[in-house]
């Protein structure tokens, strides 16, 4: 297991932009279709997100990451085409199955909305180190303790994942089967998870002590090792994103 997250190291204008502005952008642009409720508006923001992935030089990674959901989107068209409550106009007949125009249109709408949500998030996720995002959120007002919890998740997971393979090897050398029928694989789950969780929880106690010794629970304001991330386009980007969301709402009301 690699470090948690989708971040790809690159040099691009998007990588240089501060994480909080990208988060504001991603949130607003992901929500535009939900607020506007219109396929054409969705198509436009979808194109904006695609061009931004090009700008961030991560389009290929983004599209590859989407490949996994292709199958589900296929079943969405199939099932909604058959069973959508508003179905009236048959389009395709395959044996006993009939696909209707209304259901397919509905599936297209759900797909477009989902793709836009994912790609908007990708603009943030592929160009931002998760640790940078959390640190900037703490600068922006997130309680430091919450920030600590989020950051330590990012640190614990890779170390736990590294321990999994050690435990798996140890159990295999003692004769545990990890291949075979569903039941065999299911039974292999606990001997791996058990030692891992228990050793992690014991390590947790030491971490709590180490933190308290360093004044983790102490009252008063916190200082930061790093300066807040400044970018001259930070506020224009945030303003633009919020304007787009309000524009989508206005579109919904005026129409």
């Amino acid at each position: 297991m690699r470090p948690v997250g989708l971040y790809v190291e690159r040099r691009s204008p998007l990588h240089a932009l501060d994480p909080v502005s990208k988060l504001v952008y991603a949130t607003c642009f992901a929500l535009v279709p939900f607020v506007a409720g219109d396929l054409r508006v969705t198509a436009i923001v979808l194109c904006v997100n695609l061009s931004l992935l090009v700008l961030g030089r991560v389009l290929r990674q983004g599209l590859l990451a989407l490949a996994g959901v292709g199958f589900f989107l296929g079943t969405l068209f199939l099932v909604q085409g058959m069973v959508y409550p508003g179905n009236a106009t048959p389009v395709v007949r395959v044996g006993p199955l009939v696909l209707y125009q209304e259901g397919l249109a509905y599936a297209l709408w759900l797909t477009a909305r989902f793709l836009n949500l994912t790609l908007a998030a990708f603009v943030l996720l592929f160009t931002t180190r998760p640790a940078d995002l959390v640190e900037e959120l703490v600068h922006a007002g997130l309680p430091p303790r919450t920030g600590y919890v989020l950051l330590s998740v990012l640190q614990i997971i890779p170390s736990m994942a590294a321990r999994i393979s050690v435990i798996q090897d140890a159990q295999r050398s003692r004769g545990m089967e990890t291949e075979g029928s569903l039941w065999v694989r299911l039974r292999a789950f606990l001997p791996v998870l058990g030692p891992l969780v228990i050793s992690s929880l014991v390590a947790m106690q030491e971490r709590a002590l180490a933190l308290e010794v360093r004044g983790f629970g102490a009252p008063g304001p916190r200082t930061s090792y790093r300066l807040p991330w400044r970018h001259r386009f930070a506020w224009p980007v945030r303003l633009l994103a919020v304007t787009a969301l309000i524009g989508a709402l206005a579109w919904r009301i005026m129409r």
Binding site: V4, G5, L6, A26, A30, F72, T75, L76, L78, V79, Q80, M82, V83, Y84, P85, Y106, L110, F114, L117, T118, A120, A121, L125, P130, L133, R145, T146, V149, L150, S152, V153, L154, I156, I157, M160, A161, I164, T178, L182, R185, L186, F189, L190, V192, L193, G194, L196, V197, I198, S200, L201, V202, M204, Q205, R207, A208, L211, E212, F216, G217
Partner: protein, 207 residues
Amino acid sequence: MATGTHSQVSIWATRWTTLTLVLIPVGIAVNFVGKYVAQALRLPLWLDSIGTVLTAFIAGPWVGALTGALNNIIYGLTVDPVSFWYFITSVGIGLVAGVMARLGFIRSTARAVVAGLVVALVATVVSFPINIYLWGGQTGNVWGDALFAALTLRGVPLWLASFLDELVVDLPDKVLTVLLAFGLFRALPRRLLSQFQLGEGDAQPTA
């Protein structure tokens, strides 16, 4: 174990210490690892809330709920933005698992199965409206969606078909999740659990 012998008030009571705060990331990591191992062993289940249930067992419903919430936030911010929508489901799982534990449902395996059924039911009730809004009622699980299509074609109302679609996946998944968390919980050292215990009146077995 003295779990579940508390008065009505202490079902929701929580000890917020540094240890509690450090427990949460471990719980979230266990969620990730459960999901990862389930995928590695090619199991047809998610098993991605073992840590949420375990922290709820150890430290009560609020800590379970917070673990669930932060789990979906961190997952949404790093890997899969759709998990934000299922934020409430994770909070529900943590709350219910914690309440069931405090009510004494983790004193035996048979009771833990009942707790698992309740957690599955709550997860389903919270998730299926989100499924209807986002996916027209589907879950993305092949068996569940096949059932959904078959039921809807036979005239079963959409909400009911969607509910059952989610339930057939959640029932085995959450019962197994709760049983795994129960097994892990029982294996934990008493010394560790006692630091999360509430009140002084609890009869602690002397180690």
